[in-house]
């Protein structure tokens, strides 16, 4: 029997309505102002012939943009003879590449277009660690730069390393680097932040207790003049041995948030947030950010980043494989209650290929979150991608690819001012590397 036209119309309307609901549930709304950013052309930092890598960006109180990165240390001329021939497979080596690297610092007063001549931070010849454990930079109220970095032990073992510190000496150079960890060969993955009182909070992953394997979180305080205010002290346990730390402040420095990748007895590597309400002296029990369930006994080498907005919301991004490769990707979550609870994770971008990715974020006062990470393109090359999340916590901008590497662009770092978003990263191709940076003007 032929259905009546009105019945057909009703059916179509009903299906359309249901379809709309279904479609609406998977397509997030897009608010005005969350479109793609317009990035300027790439700027390269450092001397290309010296293989720059591992940039870290910071904005000074006077709005200058600072960058620290590492380059080959040309003071160590490679030996010509076959000193490296420790076994048959390495015999007859004519030139031995040096692992020695220098940390360089430069600043830009015009939003990253032009840079001051790079200044060498470390006077000693040392094999500064890069990648996940690269140098970090903080700036004091008077725009004074402080730098921390990690060096391997005397045998060259990066996993048994030491944290070094230097600061601008007021004469155009840097103070001699000094080691901060009191127990030798136990510290890696340093971070440094200027506290609101202008003192310095330095953290690292510590292995002074070498068994059980999960590492400890240690902090140390220095004055603005670099004087030691405290010895290093433990504030947490159970850390993954090879993933960098995240940190954020609130309440004029009374509240300190730290995020790290944990490792359980079952080798599950979820992330946790620790909160201190006494300026970093003591921390409460860690709160799990997301139960991702990634069980891996290998090295992720990919830590979280946290940031806090003007409303007090905490924003976190991280990489996980989840329970299976199908879940692998960059994730984001937010806590609106000061780190007591986190919203269910949101997928920022799924892995396009089997690869551990690295992500970071920067948070504007109004709650806009800018993220940058790497993922593989259609040619299986790692590229840098960005997108932003509007203050409503739901409206994502389109994903933008901002690098066009011929090999691999990895480990982006961000700096955010009221006017601009800066993204820097390392590109590697074979045995060469360089540092690229792009800047987007923000129309707010």
């Amino acid at each position: 029997m032929k259905p009546r036209r009105s019945t057909v119309c009703l059916r179509i309307f009903t299906k359309f309505w249901l379809f709309s609901i279904a479609l609406g549930s998977v397509i997030p709304a897009q608010a005005a102002g969350s479109g793609p950013l317009s990035f300027n052309a790439e700027v390269q930092l450092g001397r290309r012939s010296n293989n720059p890598s591992t940039p870290f960006l910071r904005l000074a109180p006077d709005e200058r943009l600072f960058a620290v990165w590492t380059e080959d240390d040309k003071r160590t001329a490679p030996p010509i003879e076959e000193t490296a021939a420790v076994h048959q497979h390495q015999a007859k080596m004519k030139m031995m590449p040096s692992p020695m690297r220098v940390a360089l610092l430069a600043s830009s007063a015009d939003g990253g277009r032009t840079w001051t001549r790079p200044r060498q931070v470390n006077a000693a010849v040392e094999a500064i660690e890069g990648e996940e454990g690269g140098p970090r930079l903080a700036l004091g109220k008077n725009n004074q730069a402080y730098v921390v970095w990690s060096v391997p032990n005397e045998k060259g073992d990066k996993t048994r390393a030491n944290i070094r510190f230097a600061m601008e000496d007021g004469k155009g150079g840097f103070t001699p680097g000094r080691t901060l960890n009191e127990i030798k060969d136990t510290a890696r993955f340093p971070i440094i932040e200027t506290m609101p009182d202008d003192s310095l909070l330095i953290g690292w992953i510590d292995r002074r207790v070498d068994n059980p394997t999960p590492r400890s979180l240690y902090l140390k305080r220095l004055s603005a003049k670099g004087e030691q205010l405290t010895s290093s002290y433990k504030v947490g346990d159970g850390l993954c041995e090879c993933c960098r730390l995240g940190i954020a402040f609130a309440d004029a420095g009374k509240t300190v948030y730290m995020a790290d990748r944990q490792v359980s007895e079952q080798q599950i590597r979820n992330h946790a947030l620790r909160k201190s309400t006494d300026g970093g002296k003591t921390f409460g029990q860690p709160v799990e950010i997301s139960d991702d369930g990634w069980q891996v006994s290998a090295c992720p080498h990919s830590g979280p980043t946290i940031g806090r907005d003007g409303r007090g919301y905490l924003h976190v991004t991280w990489f996980t494989l989840g329970h299976s490769e199908k879940e692998a990707g960059i994730y984001y979550s937010v806590s609106k209650d000061g780190g007591q609870h986190f919203a269910p994770r949101q997928l920022v971008q799924a892995n396009t290929a089997p690869e551990i990715l690295h992500t970071t974020l920067a948070v504007a006062a109004d709650g806009t979150v800018y993220l940058a990470w790497e993922n593989l393109d259609e040619q299986n090359r790692a590229q840098i991608f960005t997108r932003s999340l509007a203050p409503d916590g739901q409206t994502w901008s389109p994903i933008q690819q901002i690098s066009h590497s011929t090999a691999n662009a990895t480990r982006p770092m961000l700096a955010l001012s009221k006017k601009r978003l800066h993204v820097a990263w390392t590109e590697t191709e074979g045995e060469t590397s360089w540092v690229s940076m792009r800047t987007a003007a923000l129309d707010k």
């Binding site: 998977v26 397509i27 709304a29 891996v296 090295c299 494989l321 997928l347 089997p354 901008s397």
Partner: protein, 197 residues
């Protein structure tokens, strides 16, 4: 063609026409919605949230993916050229704790390679030649080390973080995989599966 058949045909046509019209309406609605979503960028967002189906992982019983890598000493190694004897591939990095922890064991198996008729190859991932060379000297590594500086082999073998060890038989078939650090027992099992013991 009989009447019923004609009717049936007509009904089918009518039914088909209704379905077609219905589909057209839905398609149009979907297109309009898609267009609206696309105009403000959400369609892009949606598409980019989709997980792509990963390429098949190197599975036990499958042929090991061939590769050619430059070694620390400047020579090259190609997996296919080693066909005819079992091969143990160990993915590692100089910065990786468990890699360093397991390296004495990997070194130990490597030194037994000549006698056992197998070959151990190290593949350094996410590393630099200088750092790997230093590690090699420090740990007195006794096997050839390929430099996967562009992460091509790592991706082909789907390594989500070193260390990882693959045991391949003389015919080039993957016989065992250990993702994470190996133990002496797992090495023994892997070698046995690949036809060494």
């Amino acid at each position: 063609m009989g009447l019923d058949e004609n009717r049936g045909t007509r009904q089918m046509k009518r039914g088909g026409s209704q379905i077609t019209r219905y589909r057209l309406v839905l398609s149009a609605v979907a297109s309009i919605m898609g267009l609206m979503a696309g105009l403000n960028g959400s369609a892009v967002t949606w598409a980019q949230h989709e997980h792509t189906t990963p390429a098949a992982a190197p599975a036990i019983g499958a042929q090991a993916a061939d590769f050619e890598l430059k070694l620390l000493d400047g020579k090259s190694v190609r997996l296919e050229q080693l066909r005819g004897k079992p091969v143990v591939i160990n993915f590692f990095a100089s910065w990786c704790d468990p890699c360093r922890d397991e390296m004495p064991l990997i070194n130990e198996i490597a030194t037994g390679g000549d006698k056992g008729g197998y070959q151990v190859i190290g593949i350094a991932v996410e590393d630099t030649r200088a750092a790997v060379l230093q590690f090699s000297e420090e740990a007195k590594l006794a096997f050839p080390i390929g430099l996967d500086l562009n992460s091509i082999v790592k991706r082909a073998y789907r390594i989500f973080g070193p260390p990882a060890t693959f045991f391949i038989d003389a015919q080039g078939t993957v016989r065992d995989i250990v993702l994470g650090p190996v133990t002496r027992e797992r090495v023994r099992q892997g070698l046995k599966k690949s036809g060494v013991l």
